[in-house]
Structures are given as C-alpha cells and as structure tokens.
C-alpha cells in the first residue's frame, strides 16, 4: 500500500479544539501543507488572532505570535520590517479583521506591506457564541440579530476583498471557500500563490476564505457547506479581485 495522503508533519499532534465540521481545521491543514511543500518551516512566522483561531500555536510547528484582537496586520508589519527574510502571515477572522482590526488591516494593505493576511470569513463571531459580525449577511439570524440582520439598524455586510482592491498598496487579493473538495484544492492554490508572491517581494496579499461554522449557523455540517454555495457566495463572490504583475 502506498500512502497518497497523510497528515502534514508541520501539524502538531494536538487535536483541534474547533467544533465538528468547522472550516478552521481545513484551513490550518492547508497552511501547514503549503509551508511544508514550499520548505519554509524555518522561515514562516504566523500572527494568530483573537477568536477561534487563537490557539494556532498549539497546532502549528512553526513560530506563532499572538496579537491583540484585530492587530494581526500591524504585528505582522513590525515582524516583516525587522525580519524581511521571513515569511510573515496573519491569520484573522471576520470579527478580528473586519471589525476591531479594520484600521490595522486597511492601512497595512494601503502601505503595501509585504505580508500575507489569511482572512477567515464565516459571517459570525464564532468564539463568543455566534453574534453578528460585520460580514453577517442581511436577514441572517445570529444571537444578536434574532430576527435577521437589518441594514437600517446594523448596516451592510462588508466585502473586504472588494474594499481592499481599491487600495493602491494591495498586490494580490482572492476569495476562495473550503466547502467542497474542489474548492479546498483551489483554496490551497490561492494560499500558495500568496506566499510565493510574498517570497518574491510582490507586496500585500490577502486570501479571504469562506468557511463553514455549522454550530453558530445552527445548521448540519453538510447544510453549512451547501449554504456557502447557495447563499453566501451571492454576496461574497469567489475569484481573484486583484493580481498585480510582479
């Protein structure tokens, strides 16, 4: 028997704390697969967020620094500026990047820092129990929008890729999903491309990943994956939003 798929060596033995069917585990795995394939384990530095991804240092066999809530891109900026030879990426959720950390993410992008942001968009504040996030869809029911998100009261869902694409400092922006096997393969390619572009000195890259959160969406695991295709993608279309030749 020949092994055709095995757990990446850069994932530690610890079991993920994520809920059953959560997309974070898939994304964690893809990141470590890509870093392993690019042979960057000695050079990669991850900036972990506040939120469901905050325990990344328990899972990644690379250097991980915890940042204050939302400040991932600012911390990554500091690390990259003093250690430009390292691959520096922040891992941020939608509450982290699109709410409390909007200023840090936006301005790091606008300055064209040569870092990569892995932006996990599951439309809710996962860790704290499924409250409305800036990316929550209109009419989506959460614990703080029990009758659905109302634009008049709570505004509209923020499209980070589209907003950042207007900033001259950004170099590569793509939105992918991890809700189907083919989508997962595509997500991995996007992460690899973003990392390669950073290695090549191309500037700020961000990969937004639509990720299922079945527990807080109050759906079955398959239903959550289907909901991404059927509902979420209509507001957050997949694709490359910017790719500046490098």
């Amino acid at each position: 028997m020949k092994t055709v798929y095995a757990r990446p060596k850069l994932l530690k033995e610890a079991d993920f704390h994520y809920c059953p069917g959560c997309g974070h585990g898939i994304i964690n795995r893809l990141l470590m697969e890509v870093i392993e394939e690019m042979d960057l384990q000695g050079d990669a530095i991850c900036v972990a967020p506040a939120g469901c991804g905050m325990l990344l240092y328990n899972y990644f066999e690379i250097d991980v620094i915890e940042s204050a809530h939302g400040r991932g891109a600012a911390v990554a900026t500091g690390i990259k500026r003093v250690r430009p030879q390292n691959l520096v990426f922040s891992y941020q959720g939608d509450g982290d990047l699109a709410a409390i950390g909007t200023a840090e993410g936006f301005h790091a992008a606008n300055r064209g820092e040569n870092i990569t942001v892995i932006f996990v968009n599951n439309g809710v504040y996962g860790m704290t129990g499924g409250q409305m996030a800036p990316t929550t869809l209109l009419d989506q029911v959460t614990t703080t929008t029990p009758t659905g998100r109302d634009a008049g009261l709570a505004g509209h869902p923020v499209r980070i890729c589209e907003v950042f694409s207007q900033l001259d400092g950004t170099s590569y922006l793509e939105r992918v999903a991890v809700n189907r096997p083919a989508a997962v393969v595509k997500a991995k390619k996007a992460i690899k491309k973003a990392f390669q572009r950073q290695v090549d000195g191309a500037g700020f890259s961000l990969v937004e990943i639509l990720s299922p959160c079945p527990v807080n969406w109050k759906m079955g695991t398959l239903e959550a994956c289907e909901w991404i295709d059927e509902v979420m993608v209509a507001h957050f279309p997949l694709g490359v939003f910017k790719e500046v030749p490098c």
Partner: protein, 69 residues
C-alpha cells in the same frame, strides 16, 4: 487500483463531511463512541474506494490517511 483509508478515531468528531463527500459511499457513521464522546466515522473495506482523497480534503480534524495498492 484499490484505495483505502485509515481514520484516527480519537481525532474524529463525527462531523460526517467525509461521509457526505465520498463519491463511492465507502464511509458511514458507526455506533462507536470515542473518548471525546463522538460517534466516529468508519470505513467499509468491501466498497470500491478509489483513493480520490475527497474525505481527507474535507476532514476538518485531519483524521484521515489515504493509501492505495
């Protein structure tokens, strides 16, 4: 070419995504509880696994290893 998978039962959380995305219907949810208290996924060796890796690609807990002969 015949494939097979090994499921790490203590990592499995019974989310069933491997079952839902297996095109050959090789995996099912067993009646076995692991130490975490989840009913774990189980592989049926009598089915025609093609080692397509869909289960491993979708497993959020990286609990599946795929091999083929």
């Amino acid at each position: 070419m015949k494939g097979s998978i090994q499921i790490d039962r203590e990592r499995c959380k019974g989310c069933a995504l491997c079952i839902d995305f297996c095109p050959e219907d090789c995996i099912s949810l067993s009646d076995d509880l692991n130490l975490k208290g989840y009913f774990v996924a189980a592989f049926d060796d009598s089915k025609e696994c093609s080692a397509c890796r869909h289960c491993a690609l979708m497993c959020p807990d990286v609990a599946i290893e795929v091999s083929k002969s």
